[in-house]
């Protein structure tokens, strides 16, 4: 840990101090996802001071950035080289940090085709409770040395330690994109999304809301032409189409703005629309359903479980019960991991699971 950056040195000092005093820390980047997960009390540890792109070579398809680097900085650098973060991390009308994006592990509309945040994580550095800085994974696409702790950290909500640096796989921007719109019911949309996904079509995102299905095609212009002939639908202008996908990605779409209580359901893509669960917005070819539902939590969770999935209380809901409960055997593994990585529970206690 020679010549450690002073911002990192500072974070490390704070962690060592908190660990010695056994006082909890609340890790935070830009705060764009403060609403996400369970409430957690602790002294604020602002991760934004440790920032900057450390390494980026376009021909390697890998970018390495410190936790406090903003999404806008990363995206504009990538765009200059016609590349992007293909999992389309949501910004929620703010400018989140890379560390926060990986700690939360959320992905945007392209997830069903390109993969989730965790699929693009190649490596991560973790500041542990005892102040040690550990490196997992690396900067190469294929790497099976040691357990895949870097991907374990993605979506961990900071409960195992502070992510200080991440290496992400990036992809070239699609050469062309077009959006098609279809008037159809939710049932027809789900049937169509699944049928289309089984055909060699360049579909990069799907969405359904208010009787309209939206389909984004990405790839070579010739592939888009061929797909349009096959699919039909109404071809939209680029501006309103981009606006719609941005609305889905960052949740600025009216559906998200207007819902005062909101559920996020992760279901098998072929599951039928949930009856009686209020207005719904469908993404990811049917695998992600947003429900603006006032049903009691137990009832909605019951519906999700019956459909073979899980339900997360995204907005509203009772403290400590926002995430879908884990099976006891999995919870036991979570407890043992937490106890080993963070024995004094200083990192974001309770943020992912109430008493962890």
């Amino acid at each position: 840990m020679d010549r450690m950056d002073s911002a990192l040195q500072n974070l490390r000092g704070r962690v060592i101090e908190a660990n010695a005093a056994k006082t909890p820390l609340r890790l935070r980047g830009a705060g764009s996802k403060d609403f996400y997960g369970e409430r957690c009390d602790g002294t604020l540890l602002d991760m934004r001071g440790y920032r900057g792109v450390v390494d980026y070579e376009p021909s390697e398809l890998v970018i390495t950035a410190r936790c406090g680097t903003s999404l806008s900085e990363v995206e504009s650098l990538l765009a200059r080289h016609q590349q992007f973060l293909a999992f389309e991390p949501p910004a929620f009308a703010a400018d989140p940090t890379i560390g926060g994006i990986i700690a939360c592990g959320l992905s945007g509309p392209r997830r069903c085709q390109a993969g989730a945040a965790r699929d693009f994580v190649l490596g991560a550095a973790l500041l542990c409770a005892d102040g040690q800085l550990l490196h997992f994974g690396g900067k190469v696409i294929k790497n099976v040395a040691g357990f895949d702790v870097a991907r374990l950290l993605c979506g961990s909500l900071g409960i195992l330690g502070a992510i200080t640096e991440v290496s992400l796989k990036v992809l070239p921007l699609p050469r062309a994109e077009q959006t098609l719109r279809f008037e159809m019911t939710a049932d027809a949309a789900l049937e169509s999304f699944n049928r289309w996904a089984g055909q060699p079509l360049p579909i990069s995102a799907t969405g359904w809301c208010n009787g309209q299905a939206w389909l984004r095609l990405s790839g070579a212009p010739s592939a888009l032409r061929a797909a349009r002939t096959r699919l039909g639908g109404e071809l939209l202008d680029a501006a309103p189409a981009d606006e719609w996908w941005r609305g889905l990605r960052h949740q600025t779409h009216a559906f998200f703005r207007e819902a005062h209580t909101l559920w996020r359901l992760s279901l098998p893509s072929t599951a039928a629309p949930l009856a009686g669960a209020g207005p719904q917005l469908i993404e990811w070819g049917g695998a992600l359903r947003w429900c603006a539902s006032d049903l009691p939590a137990a009832e909605l969770r019951g519906l999700a479980t019956a459909a073979g999935g899980t339900a997360l209380h995204w907005r509203g809901g009772e403290a400590g019960q926002r995430f879908h409960p884990l099976a006891p055997t999995l919870l036991a593994i979570h407890r043992r991991l937490k106890a080993r990585f963070d024995p004094h529970r200083i990192f974001n206690p309770g943020r992912l699971i109430a008493d962890l």
Binding site: Q82, L152, G198, P202, A332
Partner: protein
């Protein structure tokens, strides 16, 4: 991470070769025979011999016993019994692994998943396959073909290797640049811990609550749980695939061509490289039509709609020309495409034909260092007086140098082993890794000391013990102890950061 005595309880690999105490084999065999039919527990020397090694045959060890459960109930009973008796358990799929990950434990039970060989479900509308771990990789794509679907990861051994083994190693193949590794194509796992606890990770959905234990378990080399069911993602089969084959008179230029293709915004479905020695070794064997005068041959595949492929192939040809290719050929039929690939896919058997033994390495490096590494390997050939032929998954920087040796020659294996370790250390120095897709197993335990610090290895043991508190699943593999690393005596290299990066090293 508690460090001082973090691995005091962890087994050394040398302990794993210690024979069981007298009477132990009989006692454990009797206990298992009470749980399984007679033909599911093997204990005779002749019966045990086929299990003494996996695809890495230089490491051999006869297990105390072999158990072949047929159902989850039987498998769980075996695990609980072994837990009770304190017997190590090593799970094994098809035994094609290349790092000794399924090498038996002398006092342990080798748990063969060979009888978990059924495809349980091909769900075309949902595009998933639910299979048991003993199902062969290629069998999944064969079963899905009727629906126009396929399973993307295709390790070279795909006609024989099992899905369970693929999950344990996070196997890749020639198409993972575009379609990802096993990790990216597994939606769910079902299995049991050594405590007999059922683990259901992921499933038919795209994400699950809690920590991503699914990602952690893929590639965990049988150290965390025994998998009994896998849910795989199936993809629509592209309408067309074509391969561009390009010759180069210099390996450095071929390496630069790889970077140029990626920099042009193209993600080929496969991007592979062979050096002259590899091409010369496979050509008499497969008659692929390789240019034997070339210093390196690149194979770049494009797939998609016919128009898309035509555009992409033309774009790749332009880049390859500009990068100095001396000859370019494009496959004109499916038969020709498969012929171009046949050499690459048969590189390992070809090595076995021209040399009594070969030792396959699996390091990964940043693509930009390809030329540099090839030159360094050439120098090592002189240093160790052994030949090495090179095949690469060039698109993702994954190298498979095949070191040729004759195990019957005094000291040859030791030289090959040091040659390999040198290559891996170089990979780490360049910011890469010691294994891209074959796993650590027993083979790369020493090289793990170079790639990871003691604190990082302590974290791996912490993960191990969170799943396997008694430490009975595949003990001694994948993570080296402090003592072993001290004995090995090579320094941990901070990822890609040398102490004096400006010093010439080759």
């Amino acid at each position: 991470m508690p460090q001082a005595e973090f691995d005091a309880d962890e087994p050394r690999w040398s302990e794993c070769a210690e024979a069981p105490a007298a009477g132990r084999r009989l006692a454990v065999a009797q206990a298992l025979r009470a749980l399984l039919p007679a033909d599911c527990v093997l204990s005779g020397d002749n019966e045990l011999r086929p299990y003494e090694c996996d695809g890495l045959s230089v490491f051999r060890q006869q297990p105390m016993l072999v158990a072949l459960p047929r159902t989850e109930t039987e498998l769980r009973a075996v695990l609980l019994e072994c837990r009770q008796l304190g017997v190590p358990v090593v799970a094994r799929g098809a035994g094609t692994g290349l790092s000794g990950g399924a090498m038996p434990h002398a006092s342990g039970v080798l748990l063969s998943l060979a009888r978990f060989d059924r495809i349980l479900e091909i769900n075309a509308p949902a595009r998933i396959a639910r299979v048991q771990p003993g199902v062969r990789n290629l069998a999944v794509s064969e079963a899905a073909a009727a629906h126009g679907l396929f399973y993307a990861p295709d390790p070279s051994s795909q006609i024989a290797c099992s899905i369970g083994g693929n999950v344990a190693e996070n196997s890749g193949g020639v198409h993972c640049l575009k379609y990802g590794l096993t990790l990216h194509n597994v939606l769910g796992l079902r299995g049991y811990t050594i405590d007999g606890e059922l683990m259901e990770l992921g499933g038919r959905t795209l994400d699950a609550p809690g920590l991503d234990l699914l990602a952690l378990c893929v590639g965990s080399e049988g150290l965390l749980l025994v998998v009994t069911e896998v849910i795989l993602k199936l993809l629509p089969k592209p309408e067309l695939a074509q391969v561009v084959m390009a010759s180069f008179d210099d390996v450095g230029k071929a390496g630069e061509a790889v970077a140029a293709i990626i920099a042009a915004g193209i993600v080929p479905s496969g991007l592979e490289m062979m050096d002259r020695k590899a091409a010369a070794a496979v050509e008499p064997f497969v008659h692929a039509g390789y240019d034997l005068s070339a210093a390196a041959i690149l194979l770049a595949e494009s797939d998609g709609t016919p128009d898309e492929v035509r555009e992409e192939v033309a774009a790749m040809e332009r880049v390859l020309h500009a990068a100095g290719a001396t000859a370019i050929e494009v496959s004109r039929s499916e038969a020709e495409r498969l012929r171009f690939w046949s050499g690459r896919k048969n590189a390992f058997p070809a090595a076995g034909r021209i040399s009594p033994d070969y030792y396959c390495m699996d390091g990964t490096i940043p693509r930009k260092s390809l030329g540099q590494v090839l030159k360094a390997i050439e120098q090592m050939e002189h240093k160790y007086d052994l030949k090495c032929m090179n095949v690469f998954h060039a698109g993702d920087g994954n190298l498979h140098p095949l070191i040729l040796f004759d195990a019957n020659c005094e000291g040859a294996w030791e030289r090959a082993d040091r040659f390999g370790a040198d290559i891996l250390e170089l990979c780490v120095q360049l910011g890469g890794t010691i294994t891209g897709e074959h796993g650590v197993g027993v083979e790369k335990l020493n090289s793990m000391c170079v790639q990871f610090s003691p604190a990082e290895r302590a974290a791996f043991f912490a993960v191990k013990r969170a799943f396997d508190p008694p430490g009975l699943l595949n003990p001694g593999k994948a993570i080296p102890t402090l003592a072993r690393c001290a004995e090995y005596g090579r320094m941990h290299v901070r990822h890609g950061r040398l102490a004096h990066p400006d010093l010439p090293r080759f």
